[in-house]
């Protein structure tokens, strides 16, 4: 009797699954999403993920919910590995930063950027190159004339360090990179005269510039920023460097192109919304940018090559 019941139950279940499978695919998304954040609650990547999630919910851009899940630690590797293991599952989203490339190149992570589907980039945080007002330096030319300068950075495999190295290559100024624990420490070191140059976040250094304690020399991005309209870009000053912090998102590999296109469109709507401008771009003085999945994939390749070259010079590439 019980065996009979079980067989019936199995048969019913089986036919049910058969009929349900195409229906699920047809109405993507039909389940809640998990947004895997590689930083802890309250950090930069967390704030971005939660802001995006709130805007999607407010504007009802998808019929289901997005749940933010923090998986901090291991320089992001914990989160990247977790997300990469969700292969073929279109209900996972993730944040990324420079460690997305560097940990794989150094051999500390088993997953690389190629194990993910690039989804979209929706902002770029510019860096503003600043020096202390007491240094007497007023322009990129003055700085280069110094011959040697100490650049503060938030670690050795970061955009700040990369920018310092690029600046040395393009201008001939000898740049020593002094790595600190965070942007705040770098700022304190700059104000105290322990380093010469910082590539700062506009929101964090703007008040120092207004108070006359720091002097902005250049923006590192393609365009000037609205809060510092008089500060020219490095390109305008004939230094061929363009690098900002891309705020981009990824999904696991092996997804249907239609599903990726669907989510990419959701992020496009976020990027175009006044809410995103008010809640993120304006608050962080970030530039509005939109890269779709294909363009972001190209950008990832460029960034990976850039990091590879940089790490090769530093002797940090994984031994083959």
């Amino acid at each position: 009797m019980t065996i009979f019941c079980k067989t019936i139950a199995r048969a019913v279940l089986f036919t049910g699954m058969l009929s349900a499978a195409p229906a699920v695919a047809a109405e993507y998304p039909s389940r809640d999403f998990t947004f895997v954040v590689h930083g802890s609650a309250g950090g930069g990547s967390d704030i971005i993920a939660r802001t995006v999630t709130n805007i999607i919910a407010q504007k009802k851009l998808i019929p289901t919910k997005i749940i933010v899940e923090n998986r901090p630690g291991g320089s992001g590797v914990i989160a990247y590995t977790y997300l990469a293991a969700r292969k073929d599952n279109p209900y996972y989203l993730g944040t990324m930063s420079g460690s997305f490339f560097t940990t794989a190149l150094s051999g500390d992570s088993t997953v690389s950027y190629e194990d993910f589907t690039p989804l979209a980039a929706i902002a770029e945080d510019p860096y503003v190159m600043v020096v202390s007002a007491s240094s007497g330096i007023e322009s990129v030319k003055d700085l280069v004339a110094k011959g040697h300068a100490n650049f503060g950075a938030t670690g050795v495999l970061t955009d700040h360090a990369l920018l310092a190295r690029m600046f040395q290559d393009k201008t001939g100024l000898k740049a020593s990179v002094v790595p600190y624990g965070g942007d705040g420490e770098v700022l304190a070191a700059l104000l105290g005269g322990h380093i010469d140059v910082q590539f700062g976040n506009p929101s964090e250094v703007l008040e120092q510039i207004k108070a006359g304690r720091l002097v902005p020399l250049a923006m590192t991005t393609t365009e000037r920023v609205s809060v510092l309209p008089d500060v020219p870009t490095l390109k305008e000053q004939n230094v061929d460097i363009e690098l900002g912090q891309l705020r981009a998102f990824v999904m696991p590999k092996g997804l249907k192109p239609a599903d990726v296109a669907y989510m990419q469109n959701v992020f496009k709507q976020v990027a175009d919304s006044p809410e995103w401008k008010a809640q993120y771009l304006d608050k962080n003085n970030a530039n509005a940018v939109f890269l779709d999945s294909a363009a972001l994939g190209e950008r990832f390749k460029e960034l990976n090559d850039m990091y590879r070259g940089f790490m090769k010079e530093m002797g940090l590439l994984k031994k083959q």
Binding site: G42, V156, L191
Partner: protein, 505 residues
């Protein structure tokens, strides 16, 4: 005088009902997370941040700051009652607080920590209003070279922690410094001692190691003894649950000195609060006529570091409010909060927004008074924990701390790390090695190493940087004096060398 009137007007705003409620909620949350091992102030603030963004900036900041200094108050509780420091700044309090509690004076130790926190807070707040500007400039004058010398000095001070054997203390310290190297080296970018495990890339978290070594290690040692009944000292009385006001008079010197040290060192970025507790404890021991009581339950040994860490928690906000520089992980999260609230912390905040800054400082004063009242009422309740028999208490501690460890990074791996350090704590206990130097090494070692390397990078390899800078040179000379003077004294006066027997519990 103008400052005083600004402060008074700030206070009058701060006693408005919504600000009182915000301060109260903040300090309550802070106390709660401070009391729970493994949950630190920066975690609490990160949790609170998304909730409070919908409020008026002053309400939000009053609650955030309240959580921060409230946690500093609460941090002493687990140190004293359970011998488990929830965060590094509470570790020195444990040295004498825990022996006091074990000898049936839990209420007295907790009471002392409350009075000390109050006095530390009060002195720091007075100094805050008087000299915050000048102090902020002093803080940024502290570069890598100065930080290196300060760390050398504090590591030398850890020798005053004694132990029956200086050599064992040194081995423990060295082990801690080595453990501090695990993970990605931020200066070179290469990984050290990670055994290929991504979970170790960011190194060992203080809380996980401390809970393992002190909490679980102690439980393992207890299980080793024949009967758990031996542990419970039967001499607890109802009286022992209450604080003793008379202690404040006995310890007034330690309180004042601890507060000032806490304020001066706490303003420095990095490990200001922890370093200040080491200095305060060492100073207190030097001032004492009976230094041999330290480490065995000297009430001054609770007073000095507690006054220091609370003073430091206010001082740490000075660089944030006067210059817009976050000095610690916690104040970095607070700076994120200020930015999200649309306020730009920077050198101009005091001049452009006095209507925000002064009432905020007002809420600090009120929060400090609230905390003293709250904690005195709660002390007998908390101290009653000593009546819980080990066979009930230990399983409770085990589950709470393991969950706590898990909750830091949602990581089962961390629980394994905590357990492994529990075994290490047990071995330390069995072999009579002091564990505190290891934990200090874990915290201060990386700061020392990074200081040396940053200084040498910026001087392009010239070691004279440590001697050319006046603050750095002064600190190094003081450290040298610390060793040379006692030796010189002995030589000159030919006093019979009295063996100093200083034991850790």
């Amino acid at each position: 005088m103008e400052t005083l009137s600004l402060l008074l007007s700030g206070l009058s705003v701060a006693i408005g009902p919504s600000y009182l409620l915000a301060t109260f909620s903040g300090v309550m949350l802070g106390l709660a997370v401070g009391v729970l091992p493994a949950l630190g102030p920066s975690a609490a603030i990160a949790i609170l941040l998304p909730v409070i963004l919908n409020f008026d900036p002053l309400v939000a900041m009053a609650a955030l700051a309240g959580t921060y200094y409230g946690a500093m108050y609460g941090g002493a509780v687990t140190s004293i009652l359970l011998g488990i420091p929830g965060e590094s700044a509470a570790m020195m309090t444990m040295l004498d607080g825990y022996p006091l509690a074990r000898s049936g004076q839990a209420g007295r130790a907790l009471g002392m920590s409350i009075f000390a926190s109050f006095v530390g807070g009060l002195i720091a707040l007075i100094l805050f209003v008087a000299v915050s500007r000048q102090f902020a400039e002093f803080a940024i004058a502290f570069g890598p070279a100065e930080m290196t010398s300060l760390m050398i000095m504090s590591l030398c001070f850890t020798t005053v922690l004694g132990g029956d054997n200086k050599f064992k203390g040194f081995i423990s310290l060295a082990l801690g410094v080595w453990l501090g190297m695990v993970g990605i080296d931020i200066i070179s970018g290469s990984t050290r001692y990670t055994l290929g495990m991504p979970n170790l890339l960011e190194g060992f978290e203080f809380t996980v190691v401390a809970i393992g070594v002190f909490g679980l290690g102690q439980i393992l040692s207890a299980l080793d003894q024949q009967s758990l009944g031996k542990l419970a000292t039967p001499s607890y009385t109802f009286r022992s649950l209450f604080p003793r006001l008379a202690d404040v008079l006995v310890c007034w010197k330690d309180l004042v000195v601890g507060s000032i040290i806490g304020f001066v060192v706490g303003v420095l970025p990095g490990a200001g609060a922890t370093t200040s507790t080491i200095f305060a404890y060492a100073a207190s021991k030097r001032m004492s006529k009976t230094p041999e009581r330290f480490g065995k339950g000297a009430v001054e040994g609770v007073a000095a570091p507690e006054a220091a860490n609370n003073a430091a928690s206010y001082a740490a906000m000075i660089p944030l409010l006067t210059l817009g520089i976050p000095g610690s992980a916690t104040t970095a999260v607070m700076m994120g909060g200020l930015l999200m609230l649309g306020l730009q912390p920077g050198p101009l905040l005091f001049t452009t927004r006095p209507d925000f800054v002064w009432p905020l400082i007002g809420t600090f004063y009120i929060g400090n008074i609230m905390l003293v009242v709250l904690t005195i009422v709660l002390t007998p309740l908390l101290a009653a924990m000593v009546f819980v028999a080990p066979r009930y208490l230990f399983p409770m501690i085990c589950s709470v701390v393991l969950y706590g460890i898990y909750s830091i990074n949602n990581s089962v791996f961390d629980m394994g790390v905590g357990l492994a350090f529990g075994v290490l704590g047990y071995l330390f206990d069995k072999l009579r090695y002091p564990a505190v130097p290891a934990l200090l090494g874990l915290i201060l070692g990386p700061i020392l190493e990074q200081g040396i390397r940053r200084a040498l990078i910026s001087s392009q390899g010239d070691p004279m940087i440590f001697l050319e800078r006046p603050i750095s040179l002064t600190l190094l000379l003081l450290t040298l004096a610390l060793f040379v003077l006692p030796a010189a004294k002995r030589l000159l006066w030919k006093r019979p060398s009295r063996p100093r027997t200083l034991e850790t519990p």
